[in-house]
Symmetry: C2
Subunit: 312 residues, 2 copies
């Protein structure tokens, strides 16, 4: 029998999760506290499934996958019999505290709960609930159907079996779970993105290069390897003797670079305005929506490419 | 008539450059001070062209492209009539100083010179030559035929027209030049890679995640967008109002993350050993060469995918 998954909060992120679980064969129950919210979310699921099908990224007919997605009228109905609930409500501590209280009141003894929180750790909104050992953060990238990474971040009271079971579930449905041993601001993904962005802004601020040229350095250079292997594997293959050999050869250069970037200035309004002006010259504000649609098509084409490359 | 390009130093990097220029229709003269070096380099070119052809990444027959690549027996012969020379000799200041002296002695009045130096700025080895206004760094990623970015870094005495002309040449041959306004350690690419690596090592050192999970966070998440758009375009499309909107919303989070990573510790031997052990568990040292060949095939498939995606 198919596993049942509850989707709590059915905005863009929750709907994306519904696609992931339904595509993998799970029964998905969508619930949203806002009247009509879950129905709207299910329409987003239908749209995303059609897009994915056009790029060969689903095995079954979209309609067959959509048939596995139902709308639940109460939170209790959504959670009933679910092995896992993905919470994707508004990113504010007081909101999430209330949602977890409501979940706690009706959850069964075996259901695990992952929060899509991109920044607030689970300890900030699960300390008061009875099911807290079964709660953790499961932070996706949007949309999770195209970017499979999901960061699993336990609160101090999350049971190790919870992490283990959610990791196994995520692998079963085709996601790429990564695991933190404890909470830290920004988790892994936004910490890595953050340091790179900090240096990118700094280079522009110092007048060393334009934002466009910084972008090209990534999209026409660094990012090409990173689309199919991470930074450690990259350097492991870039020195004859592997990663330790690389660290001994190039460590001094990187330490020297890092030492010169200790100053983490706030991106002030003048700098923000300068980069905004550069971007708007490349892409007028009126074209942002069109470009976002372009990005989504490119991500789908890339996902298809990577899927084929991995299979061959 | 086809432009002539001189390749000075014909190891892996120089041979990669020969592929780039010959593929684009230039006449390429390869020179190496070591006897037989240029002949060996030309064989590498032949091999790379066959690989590229197998992935549909060259327009002409490999043999037709190779016919445009000749071996020069003297430096003078290589430079004679060349619009541009790409210097790719050993990465040591004293070596490069001598090479630039030798170039200076025989170079014509219109030839520009770019150095493949990945770290040493041009000011360290061109201050003494008469042609110094025509010299700069043109730092590629290996192999340049697959990763098109090239960092143009002028010395204080490099003429603006030199930068402009080399940028135009690089664009003509299908590379993606980025331009620094002045020299800085690590240029753009290694500075961006450096800050990300520094944080990656720190996460592993703090026991927050394994090297493998840090890698997956990039290869299954961050790196997917970065393979076709840079960090600024990424955040420009990730907030309703563009990059300034994003900076105001998420700046505080990133500053807070950055403030907590000010400590740039040296990667000490214990840490290097721990990451080496993790990597060798994933990939035994005896499999490094096989995995490098896998990476090159994946890069070629990705380059083909991106080429098609850009065309469509």
């Amino acid at each position: 029998m198919a596993e049942k998954i509850a989707i709590i909060g059915t905005g863009l992120v929750g709907s994306g999760w519904a696609v992931v679980f339904a595509r993998a064969g799970c029964d998905v129950a969508m619930y949203d506290a806002a009247p009509g919210g879950a129905e709207q979310g299910r329409e987003v699921v239908a749209q995303q499934l059609n897009d994915l099908a056009a790029y060969g990224l689903v095995e079954d007919e979209p309609s067959a996958i959509l048939a596995r997605v139902s709308v639940a009228t109460t939170l209790k109905e959504a959670l009933d019999g679910a092995v896992y609930a993905q919470e994707s409500t508004f990113e504010r501590t007081d909101v999430k505290r209330e949602v977890f209280s409501a979940i706690d009141a009706v959850i069964g003894p075996d259901t695990l709960v992952g929060s899509s929180s991109s920044g607030i750790p689970a300890s900030a909104y699960t300390d008061h609930v009875a099911c807290k050992a079964r709660c953790l953060v499961a932070h996706p990238v949007n949309p999770p159907s195209l970017a499979p990474v999901v960061e699993l971040v336990p609160a101090p009271w999350t049971a190790p079996e919870t992490v283990k079971a959610v990791r196994a579930l995520m692998e079963r449905v085709g996601q790429a779970p990564v695991e933190m041993t404890r909470e830290i601001e920004g988790f892994i993904l936004n910490r890595l993105q953050g340091v790179l962005l900090m240096e990118a802004w700094r280079l522009v601020e110092a007048g060393l290069a334009t934002a466009e040229d910084v972008d090209k350095t990534v999209s026409k250079g660094l990012g090409l390897r990173w689309a199919f292997m991470g930074p450690f594997e990259t350097i492991d293959l870039n020195a004859p003797g592997g990663v330790a050999d690389y660290a001994r050869r190039l460590g001094p250069l990187y330490h020297s670079i890092a030492a010169s970037t200790d100053e983490h200035r706030v991106w002030d309004e003048a700098l923000i305005g300068a980069v905004e002006a550069q971007r708007r010259e490349v892409l007028p504000a009126s074209d942002l929506a069109t470009r976002r649609a372009w990005r989504d098509r490119r991500l789908m084409a890339l996902a298809r490419h990577l899927k084929n490359a991995e299979a061959s």
